[in-house]
Symmetry: C2
Subunit: 412 residues, 2 copies
């Protein structure tokens, strides 16, 4: 078994080669990987069955862990889609001649070594490899213990395919140490790893924030809001609310909290409650709501800060757009928040002042996604402001450097 | 005295107001601050004298700490220069209509609250305030204990001027707790502070890397190299080397290590040694150098990794451009490195493969600087790859967000 340090060291040693790979070579590696995943699906499924047999967690968890021919084909399609995306490496971001004749260029370069810490879903393994590859990066993968056999099989198939295509696959490294100590060691691999992207639940993210010496990009915690402003059209608001809350509950861009303007609450709240209940959504609500509908349970302070990821929602009546903004900035996770309004001034204020990665007017929060935003793919959704915000595609996996060319200039 | 938490809380509470300030208001605040610094210079100098009287450190340190009318005028000029720089907030970075009619814009926004931890030089206080202000950010300053009276006086003058000009100056917060525990607490102010920029020596940076839960941008450690490739013109190389090493030794973009191609070492080394010695530079060198010049002291492994910030340099003979690149990537700090060459292929290889913020061909490393690069000002020089690399100006103190406007779109 390759230890954490050795995996990171190998990735670092391989970073220069993949950084210099041309786009044509990258695409050949992606095509070979996709082909091999389909051809060797049975091997991967057999290893995945071992993970499932060993898994003691619930049915929903097992479902996310499971791989079958269809899911493996989807993963292969994902890699093939990356072929058509433009590799951002080498892009000249700025170019100018300085007062002293120096020619200055700011050029996009790969990050170097990208680390990913993720939970059960084994498709992330291939997605992360593909995105790292097409952005010229080496990658160190640290999946969960539950998916270790599946991840190992998937890496072996992809690395084998890359090797057979005539390239060195050592820019892909899987950490096979499933311990908590191993994860902590990985988070401290400064000097080997340039950035770590933790993908998973709040505990995983918190552990990364508290222990990492490698720079990290926080992702995926989404306490998203839908706010129905007093001029909001309920015929738009209700479908948006239901879509944001129920179209898929386990995702970070799902709505967790509904805010309603006091002025329209007597009419709006009952319609929202009826629509939510029809979809089986449990509702907790503020005292003002409970004055309108006594059947509602009481929301605690904690509810407003909770990402349920389930058929549950908190509802609060607010005095207007300022109170809505203040509530969202206080309790939210700076992910995705929406206003439903017919008032351009309210919309503009909300867009300006809500401090989130994606701010919506009259649309569902569910659109915050690399594919929906036209990035073609994504490595996760950043909820921090440093480096990248919102969906991270290939561009967000790059850095830049300054190239300065002269004829002997010195500083006076 | 305002505690660490309270200072960060006040900055966070004031972030929305400064983020929404228009450029005209920002410029009025800058002009008023510069004017007040000049008018109240005597007060600041009196407080600075208290710092100097209490300081038990060496003469060079005291010199960096000292403020006089000339230095305060320079600080005021620095603030006035920011007036002519364009505020980057609000810039539309991307704009498109998605397949479903959603209008998507990616817009530059302030970071929110920027923290700075810095050492003695009190001019950083005003520079950081000015840069934060012109990029729409609140700022929390944590200077050194040695400069506390000076920093307090400077903040009081600037905040007073902003208040008199009719604005709320609470977006500027100075941490007056000079303890190590206070610094550590500041580094953990996640949720209040969006990024912390540590500026100072290696120990200060290491403490930030190891203790921060707030994202940080590493700055300023510069183990920079000049590499004389075998086709390099010595009449260019020697002035570049001397400029990079001796024009100012205490700065991060000064040269600390010289690499010379084996093929030209017999001719090049003696000329380099003579020129360096003429400037009083102490030289430590590899065994191959010592075969050419037995008077040279031996360099240790540690020397190659040392940022001397002094009249001292390590010298190593390398087999060619690949060995030079490998040495720089291994021992350097990814700051600024130069090749002296007449061979375009060697230059291109060096530009591509040296993993540093700024890579030079035939020019001094001393140009890595916000003013020299035309950014107009700088908050420090990043040596990490996440978010910003090299000199950080106003643009590098911003983030972005996605604004999405629709007419009721939901996700299918």
């Amino acid at each position: 078994m390759v230890g954490v340090l050795e995996a990171c060291r190998r990735a670092k040693m391989s970073a220069a080669a993949i950084a210099l790979a041309g786009e044509e070579d990258m695409n050949k590696m992606l095509a070979a990987s996709a082909k091999a995943l389909r051809e060797r699906a049975a091997e991967i499924i057999a290893e995945n069955k071992r993970d499932i047999a060993a898994c003691t967690r619930g049915a929903q968890f097992v479902d996310r862990l499971r791989l079958d021919e269809k899911r493996i084909d989807d993963i292969a399609v994902g890699l093939e889609k990356l072929i058509s995306l433009h590799c951002p490496v080498g892009e000249v971001l700025e170019e100018r001649t300085l007062y002293n004749g120096l020619r200055l260029r700011r050029v996009r370069v790969p990050m170097g070594v990208i680390g990913i810490i993720y939970e059960s879903r084994p498709n992330v393994t291939a997605d992360a490899i593909g995105l790292a590859l097409k952005s010229g990066n080496a990658v160190v993968l640290r999946g969960s213990k539950d998916a270790l056999c599946s991840n190992r099989a998937m890496c072996a198939v992809i690395k084998g395919a890359i090797r057979e295509a005539g390239y060195d696959p050592e820019f892909i490294q899987l950490i096979e140490d499933p311990t908590h100590e191993g994860a902590t060691q990985f988070l401290k691999m400064k000097g080997y790893v340039d950035v770590i992207i933790p993908r998973g639940g709040a505990g995983l993210i918190r552990n990364a924030v508290e222990n990492a010496t490698v720079p990290i990009i926080e992702t995926g915690t989404g306490n998203c809001h839908v706010y129905i402003e007093k001029t909001g059209d309920l015929d738009k608001a209700i479908p948006i609310l239901i879509n944001a809350k129920t179209q898929r509950t386990s995702v970070c861009n799902a709505c967790e909290s509904l805010l309603i303007d006091e002025a329209i609450a007597p009419a709006a709240l009952p319609r929202c409650v009826a629509a939510l209940r029809e979809k089986g959504v449990e509702i907790v609500a503020c005292p003002k709501c409970r004055k309108i509908d006594a059947s509602l349970s009481e929301a605690t302070e904690e509810d407003y800060g909770t990402e349920y990821l389930d058929l549950k929602i908190s509802v609060k009546i607010v005095g207007g757009v300022q109170e809505a903004i203040d509530h969202i900035n206080r309790y939210g996770t700076h992910h995705s928040d929406a206003i439903i309004t017919a008032d351009p001034a309210a919309a503009q204020k909300f867009l300006n002042e809500v401090d989130s990665a994606a701010v919506y007017v009259n649309a569902s929060t569910r659109f915050t996604d690399g594919f929906q935003f036209g990035l073609g793919a994504e490595m996760g959704i950043s909820t921090q402001k440093l480096h990248a915000r919102g969906p991270m595609g290939l561009r967000e996996l790059t850095s830049y450097k300054y190239l300065v060319e002269g004829e002997g200039q010195v500083r006076g």
